[in-house]
């Protein structure tokens, strides 16, 4: 799950990280008041779940409250990479002496959190990694022991000459680690971590991605979910316990299992068409899931055909067939349906589908070809 910069900053602040004062709003009329309260020049920052806000004009400096209000009016409603800006963060603008990068992700191969720091802050860290890898220091943390201060100091000293600044930065790195572990993050980064001319260390940008699997025990993080930023059909799918990702093609796909669902999309593409979505109904055989899946896919006007690819294991083919029949009877889909059934209770499934004159094939390739044919018709 993605959260906004202002939310990430709230979390970091809880763990003691130094963050400039700021406030979020969706109302340009409030911006002046907020800027006035801060009483200094401010930054007006678009809050959207995509990168590249700065380049898109979503981050502006304002000398005073009036300027801040003008910027906010321009930014709110702006489209950044297909996302509409609905909130802005007004935050104290600070003098910047140096900009550094600090971030943590889980290293899947080493099975450890890995902390990365670089004196090249405020730019894309992947670019730094590609062009000047020697400007990045990586450090793995023993998850049993946790980050130790000497390690944080080692990272901080890579970035800062000054021992006093390094000590402050080491503390921030410890706080970054604590936050990362405590909120079930999959990524936590501060870019840039800045120093001011008077020797302060501040996190002026913040990003945290959350591991969805941890949300069950972090209701305060789950509450940060911003439905405005998510595709409504994806939200609906999530509520119906379906894994769904919206795409741009015309072949609606309903599959059991994530790997098979991806392979189905790939097969559609292989035979020259485009999938309309990724959809995994999961391991359970609940006919309701099938009905919900069809409903969600049919919201998309691009969808020309619905393709079922079911390899029965735990999922029983007859349950899926029952779901298809119920859905067809319920809302009479305006597009053709093609079905592949193999595995557990395959024969029972076929029999059930006869009721609505649907003939299921048993080959994945055949069903994809047929779907493409029907979509083109």
């Amino acid at each position: 799950m993605k959260i906004h910069e202002y939310q990430a900053k709230e979390l970091f602040k809880k763990f003691g990280m130094p963050i400039p004062d700021g406030k979020v709003t969706n109302n340009p009329e409030e911006v002046g008041k907020i800027a006035h309260e801060i009483g200094k020049p401010v930054m007006v920052k678009a809050q959207v779940h995509v990168g590249g806000r700065g380049k898109a004009g979503g981050i502006k400096f304002a000398h005073n409250a009036h300027e801040a209000w003008e910027h906010a009016k321009a930014i709110l409603g702006m489209d950044i990479k297909h996302c509409t800006v609905k909130k802005v963060l007004i935050t104290e603008a600070v003098d910047i002496d140096t900009e550094a990068y600090i971030g943590i992700i889980v290293d899947r191969a080493a099975k450890m959190p890995v902390i990365m720091v670089s004196p090249e802050g405020g730019v894309d860290i992947e670019e730094v990694a590609a062009k000047t890898p020697e400007r990045i220091m990586k450090l793995h943390v023993d998850p049993m022991l946790g980050l130790q201060n000497f390690q944080a100091m080692k990272l901080a000293r890579f970035v800062y000459e000054d021992i006093g600044i390094a000590r402050k930065a080491a503390r921030v790195i410890m706080q970054l680690y604590m936050t990362f572990m405590h909120v079930d993050a999959s990524l936590a980064e501060v870019n840039p971590l800045i120093t001011t001319p008077d020797g302060k260390v501040l996190a002026i940008d913040a990003k945290i991605n959350i591991d969805d699997n941890g949300l069950y025990r972090r209701p305060e993080i789950e509450a940060m979910r911003d439905l405005d930023e998510e595709d409504p059909s994806e939200t609906e799918a999530k509520n119906a316990d379906l894994s769904f990702v919206k795409l741009d093609g015309s072949i609606g796909c309903i599959v059991n299992g994530a790997g098979l669902a991806m392979a189905t999309m790939d097969t559609v593409k292989h035979f020259g068409a485009e999938p309309a979505n990724f959809l995994d109904i999961g391991g359970s055989s609940n006919p309701d899931k099938v009905i919900n899946a069809m409903r969600i896919i049919l919201r998309d006007p691009n969808v020309k055909v619905i393709l079922f690819n079911i390899f029965g294991g735990i999922t029983r083919c007859d349950d899926v067939a029952n779901g298809i029949v119920a859905a067809v009877k319920d809302f009479k889909p305006p597009v053709p349906i093609v079905v592949r059934l193999t595995g557990t209770n395959e024969d029972e499934g076929r029999k059930i589908l006869e009721e609505i004159n649907l003939a299921a094939t048993s080959s994945m390739e055949d069903v994809v070809k047929k779907a493409i044919e029907l979509a083109a018709a």
């Binding site: 894994s243 994530a258 991806m262 593409k269």
Partner: protein
């Protein structure tokens, strides 16, 4: 022969009285797996499909000498279940549960390692050595005893590939679903290494997907260590970046983990990657055919050189 799982494994089911636990206990018993017990606190003394239920893994191990466990408990309890199994001396833990937080798995991984045990999963279909034993949720009937090892990050996609192999009469020594999460107990390389050493495995099928760099690491490893034929399939060529495709681990992030990268890395070390799942069977048939011929001609050469 097979890897990790043979007829000898004595299996307990953690969460045996739950819906999935109970159903798959029956399935495993029917397949011939030695299911010697189950665990559900508060239900010790009951039986499920004739299998005795214990209060704890410790109790179960003491009574049954179990060495293997399969976990069906909800994510909230599954980490505890893994620790309990390993603490009680279980050497092979298969965690079916989906939804375990990655940060918990970091500790779990190192704990399991330091105790000399093996964890498969979480979020996996389990492991089957066709004709010998099955510890997991895969449909048994699509498998066929044979000499190809299959290792996969997926569930149903694995069935699809196995189904194609079986249809071509290419049997399997062992089929392992290692799981779709970012942090898993057993990786491609662990399985490939075991298949490579297994005398009854002649070829290896690797089924990968987007996310992480496990396939790339596997390619490097194979180049260095494996002479047996390997063929692969990678799911997610059409997956958009930044989106989690069902599996927690299936996500292209920061430009890494794309299907293209993985296919390139595999091809670079001579591993053909099928365009469609069923083609894996054709590629393997071809490789095995060639390998057989090579072997034969090698034998001939040897003979003639005498």
């Amino acid at each position: 022969m097979a890897i990790f799982l043979s007829r000898k494994n004595k299996v307990i089911v953690q969460g045996i009285t739950g819906r999935d636990g109970s159903f798959h206990t029956q399935q495993m018993v029917d397949y011939g797996t030695q299911v010697v017990g189950g665990v559900t606190p508060g239900k010790g003394g009951e039986t499920v499909h004739g299998v005795p239920v214990f209060e704890s893994v410790e109790d179960a191990v003491k009574s049954t000498y179990a060495d293997t466990s399969v976990i069906f408990v909800p994510p909230k309890f599954s980490v505890d279940a893994i620790y309990e199994a390993v603490d009680a001396g279980i050497k092979l833990v298969v965690c079916i549960t989906e939804g375990v937080p990655a940060i918990d798995m970091l500790k779990v991984y190192h704990y399991v390692q330091s105790h000399g045990a093996r964890l498969i999963g979480p979020n996996c279909p389990g492991i089957i050595s066709p004709g010998l034993s099955k510890v997991g949720i895969m449909p048994a009937q699509i498998h066929r005893k044979g000499k190809v090892g299959v290792v996969s990050r997926s569930g149903t996609l694995t069935y699809e590939v196995v189904f194609a192999l079986t249809n071509k009469k290419i049997g399997q020594s062992t089929v392992i679903g290692i799981g779709g999460d970012p942090i898993i107990g057993t990786n491609f390389i662990d399985c490939i290494d075991a298949f490579n050493k297994d005398k009854m495995t002649d070829g290896i099928v690797l089924i990968g997907e987007i996310g992480g760099t496990d396939e790339e690491e596997a390619a490097k490893y194979i180049k260095k260590n494996v002479k047996k034929p390997v063929v692969a399939f990678i799911a997610g060529r059409t997956a958009p970046p930044g989106k989690r495709m069902g599996h927690a681990g299936a996500i292209i992030s920061g430009g890494t983990g794309t299907a293209e990268d993985k296919i390139k890395a595999l091809n670079a070390v001579g591993i053909p990657v099928a365009d469609l799942p069923a083609q894996v069977a054709d590629l393997m048939a071809e490789k095995l055919g060639t390998a057989k011929k090579k072997k034969k001609s090698a034998k001939k050469t040897k003979k003639s050189s005498k």
